[in-house]
Symmetry: C2
Subunit: 363 residues, 2 copies
Amino acid sequence: MTDRLTVTYRIRATAATIAARAQSVAVEQSVEMPVEAISNETVLRDIVGQVQDITDRDDGSFNVRIGLALETIGRDAGQLFNMLFGNVSLQDDITLEDLSITPALAKIFAGPNIGMDALRDRVGAPRRAFTCSAIKPQGLPVAGLAELAARFAEGGLDFIKDDHGMAEQSYGRFANRVPAIAAAIRATGSKTRYVPSLSGDLDAMRAQLRVATGCGLDAVIVAPMLAGFSTMQTLVRENRGFAFFAHPTLGGAARIAPDLLIGKLFRLLGADAVIFPNHGGRFGYSPATCQRLAANATAQHPILRPAIPVPAGGMTLARVGEMLDFYGREVMVLIGGNLLLARERLAAASAEFTRAVAQHSYR
Amino acid sequence: MTDRLTVTYRIRATAATIAARAQSVAVEQSVEMPVEAISNETVLRDIVGQVQDITDRDDGSFNVRIGLALETIGRDAGQLFNMLFGNVSLQDDITLEDLSITPALAKIFAGPNIGMDALRDRVGAPRRAFTCSAIKPQGLPVAGLAELAARFAEGGLDFIKDDHGMAEQSYGRFANRVPAIAAAIRATGSKTRYVPSLSGDLDAMRAQLRVATGCGLDAVIVAPMLAGFSTMQTLVRENRGFAFFAHPTLGGAARIAPDLLIGKLFRLLGADAVIFPNHGGRFGYSPATCQRLAANATAQHPILRPAIPVPAGGMTLARVGEMLDFYGREVMVLIGGNLLLARERLAAASAEFTRAVAQHSYR
């Protein structure tokens, strides 16, 4: 017998068509050929996907659980996504909804290097929610970015991340930008952690990590949908002292349920913190989606450390209290552009943000 | 003045709201912060996205053209996708529709290494359409896969590709599988090219390319959505003698127009051949989408070589004539599982396929 992962798809179909459609998905996501053309018994028994369960959602769609052989995934994160949703992502009646993270799967990918508790130690936040902001815009000279970072650090924020648009542009090379910004933060004497954004291929990201290590940093951001899943997997393994923040850019989660993609799969790949669009901001996620996403990121797991949910995307100081009541203490509040509106009052606005989180009385 | 790329989005909105919504997209895909918090004149002039044009589609949506600064992309393919559709992919009122491939952009990414004409020379197909099939299923012992490949080659097919599900599984390592299959094809004396599938991170793919080179191969498949765009860009640059086939797995093209993603962007990244789901097969693309995709792949361009459209996904021998009339001669016909149904008649079925393409009289 082979180990199987249980994968849940939502499929639009009628009661008359769902059984055949479910079977076609099980075949597409495993052998991708007519089963009647296969004579090898091992393939038929251990490799072909198996429909395990079909449940009517009573809305013109069904939840279909399919058992995929763990062996088809090997040990590679790219192949994991290929098997979960590769070809059927091109069919428009189906979304990927959930995945059982079995012990065997969790051991292969291992999840966050650091985890929430150790990150609390790093920034001195034993119980409260974390705070975070972002330096931007891209195109601002490095001295200007370093200046913003220093003001955020003076205000006592836990984490300052690069805007995810900062890459290796002519106006801001990582090797020039990151040491200057790290030095500006260090000069404030604060515990604030700087989290620069990685870009390019694996070689480029390794070089960037060497620069970050040289600056004494211990956290970076990577965008799994841009970098490639295997790239992220390798970087997490090669840099066990680093926390990885996952940025959801290009996540276009219309076809993969966002609570699965960002909350569960990015954690599985090794994200210590998962950034996602909070409800009521610039993006379209509902409160229920955000709640499920945060629950997936933080759920107790026998092997995987918890990841920190980082709701973001147009958040404001005025929303801090409501967000803390919604997410509790296992959250990192990220306010970006809205803090930057304070301009010359940036350190003071950052300090207000820091206080609002530290002094919140939960409902 | 900065060079700008013109990017076209389709946005659901009303006449009353579209101007503000278009402006918000221009900001999100460039500086991602309130413009009123920016004082730097260079950023305001050269970095912030500019709404160039808004056209009512008369279906509750608008085409919005936005000029994005080329400088924000640097020279990296991951950052290209980040700037084109990164954050707005998370908003559900918007799809990415088109992109102007300016000479400056084409020079950065350079497109296919080989191009359609040189591939015609390689397989001896000066004017007709190309033929292709796939060996599968994964899990079949290597000897069985090599046997299938030999039958396809005896039938005279131009290209034999790995099923995209074949990666580095315990039952089929690249380093064992590929030399055996290449040798089986070579033993037939045919001009057939074997196209193995790359998987894993950049290091793993480089090792696989060394194996392929050692076997005398000159083409590989990569899945850009799994590998990461920058990974593909680097591999294309490092292996100028190789043709790259792009597999659309995980393309989930509901949010990026498939003719753009597969036909235009995969070509820009360096795909010599772009595999896509043909209309009327297992996937949901319309004939019009397929036509636009093929046109994007083959359109004359002053810098980029043409890529070959490879319609696939449940194709049959019976459809060859209709497909050739639809796509013309600038196409590679890929029949996979359906040929495998011929079982012990596989070489004969492959020869029928070869003949059907060679002897087709176009309408």
